[in-house]
């Protein structure tokens, strides 16, 4: 039994590794296909064709794509993310601080949204059909339907422009006290919570309702179990797999979804960095950022699958 789970987890990890390789491949070639030539971009319009050709040579841009890919892969293995075309700094150094900022933003959002969404989802399922359940459902559907740039812009309009409670831009470096920190993070975090919680609430509610209608929950009721015992002892452990998956999927949206939020609030995170890198055709930087996003996604999905495997008693 034990070795069965171990094998399954190993298999899942192997799949993740293969996926990672495919993702790296896709990221590299997708970015190489971006229009525009890096060398002429870097040198500007006044550059002579000779200079451009020389730079291309120096940057190995003339090598076949597959060779450049392998070189890039080898660099990654050594922890070398390459050098930024735009300002000649190591990509790792550029990303470092920015990544931390993004992780902070995503972390705070996760810490707030997951308990909130689970509580709302589970309570809505327990009080299925009640006014409370319907309110939660309508609100979450409403929130799903509104795109995050809309939420973000409205938040800026209301809280920063009219009420003047919060700063429109989130400049982390100016934070000196806890109050400052709260003020800076409030709007981006609220926007992100809006975006990712709705899906989690709906999936949690659906998963719990489904297990609540199983014969074993009815059996618990006929044993005289209380409502909360039915939900927490009998329904939840069996709804764990789908819930964890829903949470992971929603959180993985954070990884990509921050792009819009960071841009709108001018938050110095990695997504903002990537958007800027696209503007300057900074391929190594774009590749590294895209890779980090994909890694985050892959990590979440793999973790969810492993939790689902572990929580299944038939495999345990």
């Amino acid at each position: 039994m034990k070795s069965g789970v171990f094998n399954l987890v190993l298999k899942r990890l192997a799949v993740a590794a293969v996926t990672l390789l495919i993702v790296l491949f896709a990221v590299f070639f997708a970015t190489s296909m971006l229009p525009g030539d890096t060398a002429s971009m870097l040198l500007g319009q006044a550059a002579t064709p000779e200079a451009v050709a020389g730079l291309r040579e120096a940057m190995h841009l003339n090598d076949p794509a597959i060779l450049r890919f392998l070189r890039w892969l080898l660099g990654l293995l050594h922890g070398d993310l390459g050098t930024s075309y735009a300002n000649d700094m190591p990509v790792a150094a550029l990303i470092g601080g920015r990544l931390l900022n993004t992780v902070k933003l995503a972390g705070i959002t996760t810490l707030l949204s997951v308990p909130l969404a689970l509580t709302l989802g589970i309570t809505a399922a327990m009080l299925r059909g009640s006014l409370y359940d319907r309110t939660v459902t309508i609100l979450s559907i409403g929130v799903i339907s509104v795109p995050e740039f809309m939420v973000a812009t409205l938040a800026v309009l209301v809280f920063a422009v009219y009420l003047k409670w919060l700063p429109a831009l989130s400049s982390v470096n100016e934070a000196h006290s806890l109050a400052d920190l709260v003020r800076i993070y409030a709007m981006p975090v609220i926007t992100l919570i809006f975006v990712i919680s709705a899906q989690m609430i709906r999936m949690t509610r659906a998963a719990v309702i489904e297990t609540l209608s199983t014969p074993y929950v009815e059996m618990a009721l006929l044993k005289g179990a209380s409502r909360s015992r039915m939900v927490f002892r009998h329904a939840l452990p069996n709804a764990l797999g789908p819930i964890v998956n829903a949470v992971a999927l929603s959180l993985s949206y954070l990884v990509g979804g921050v792009i819009i939020v960071e841009t709108i609030f001018n938050y110095p995170g990695i997504a903002k960095l990537m958007v800027d890198a696209v503007a300057t055709r900074d391929l190594p930087l774009i590749q590294s950022c895209a890779m980090i996003f994909c890694l985050g996604y892959l990590f979440l999905i793999t973790a969810a699958d492993i939790v689902a495997i572990m929580s299944n008693p038939r495999l345990r």
Binding site: S213, T214, P215, Y216, E218, M219, A220, L221, L222, K223, G224, A225, S226, R229, R233, H234, P237, N238, S311, N312, P313, R314, R316
Partner: protein, 551 residues
Amino acid sequence: MTNLVEVRNLRIEATTDAGRLVEIIKGVSLDIADGEIVALIGESGSGKTTVALSLMGYARPGCRITGGEINVGGKDMAALSEKERARSRGTDIAYVPQSAAAAFNPSSTIMEQTIEVTRIHDLMPPEQARKRAVELFRALSLPDPEGIGARYPHQVSGGQLQRLAAAMALISDPKLVIFDEPTTALDVTTQIDVLKAFKSVMRAGGIAGVYVSHDLAVVAQIADRIVVLKGGEVQETGTTAAILSAAKNPYTRELLAAFEPKPRQTQADGDSGPKPLLRIDNLTAGYGPVKPDGQPVIRAVDSVSLVVEKGRNLGVIGESGCGKSTLARAIAGIHPAAAGDIIFDGKQLERAVAKRTRDQLREMQIVFQYADTALNPAKSVEDIVSRPLVFYHRLDRQARSKRVDQLLDMVRLPRALRYRRPSELSGGQKQRVNFARALAADPKLIICDEITSALDTVVAAAVIELLKELQRELGLSYIFISHDLSVVEAICDQIMVMYNGERVEQITPDKVKAPTHPYSKLLFSSVPKLDPTWLDGLVRDPELVNQYGHR
């Protein structure tokens, strides 16, 4: 208050999907004395489970107790608050579900769930509860009573789970236990062990019980009194002996009649003698990866040979997991066989359905057990039955419409039903549509895979009658797969017994009283009889049970 249970004029309403209120229990009254076992018997939809559950003050979602009194042990369950009801549930009244496999929480151990009642109601310390559970496991003759509690539900067999569910119900010394079709999902050889265990425990404890079932023969073994329900009303109440021997109500008589064997007259077709229609030689089919020798790792059907003669029927009987359905699927080509020959009407058939010609497909039809899943819920009966007419016969619209009428007439369904969808039909009607679709192809052979198993006794008997009639008219042959001996006996000329993927014996119906193979002996002797003394008088060779019973 003289009786433990006194139900008076109980009424329960249900809300349909369309939002209409329907009264499903229309004024039911019944009494149960201390230590008495009363059976609620009736077809599906008769309200027997609804009545049984109402004794716990519980109505399934969408249902509501609207009137009457449900006095259990001096408390009116209908009038209590939900909290007070919960206090009686599991302690005074306990429930044994129909499918224990579904009623056990898959993520918790058996012991934890068995003693959960004592935790919920704070009846005794967990240590003591565990000891008591082990005693009950032993009393219910479960294997390894000390260790079985540590396992998870999926690690024990269906028959064991059903007994474990009884242990779960009995742990709190209830005054009344509700058994909701507890043996319906079990094989007959397993059913006997479970019934015996239930009976001895209930008798030893002097516990009163409600036994819900559709099977009169099973009920005859365990109940003191029988209440016959139909359409939410009590049809007849009486002691078991009185109901079995002197039923007054016409519906009860119908139920009893469905049990009487109707021996089949073999047609004396004088011409040319029997010709083989289908011959199967050493057919092997299975699942899992294929080994180097071409055999699948798990062999569900192992070198089975059989012959079906023109205009004759072959019954295939065996318990769940014996490979009978896989055999049907392999013959039909849906699950291609790994080895063996299928010779149909003198020609060798390809093993895979995709490689057979359209005419070959047409001549051999298969009808599945669950009409619910076999019929497309989005299509009307007309569309469903027309499909083979277009596919095999390329009939135009007018001819098709005429043929649909004919087919509906053949399966004794009113023509007006053609515009309905499957969800608007009863179970028996759906199975008839399912069968009409097979007939539409003009087949020579129809493989019937447990087609009566999901139907009520009376309805199933009518479907069997229909099959016989159609055979007389159309000269069809059937392969009739079932776990139910009486059904197979009623329609087949030859009966093949399968065990563990192999054919163990083939006999004619008149010889089922005297099978030669030990497994057939065990299987045939395990079919419950209407005689109330049958179970107590049953003596089985323990060696046989050990060898073949799924314990």
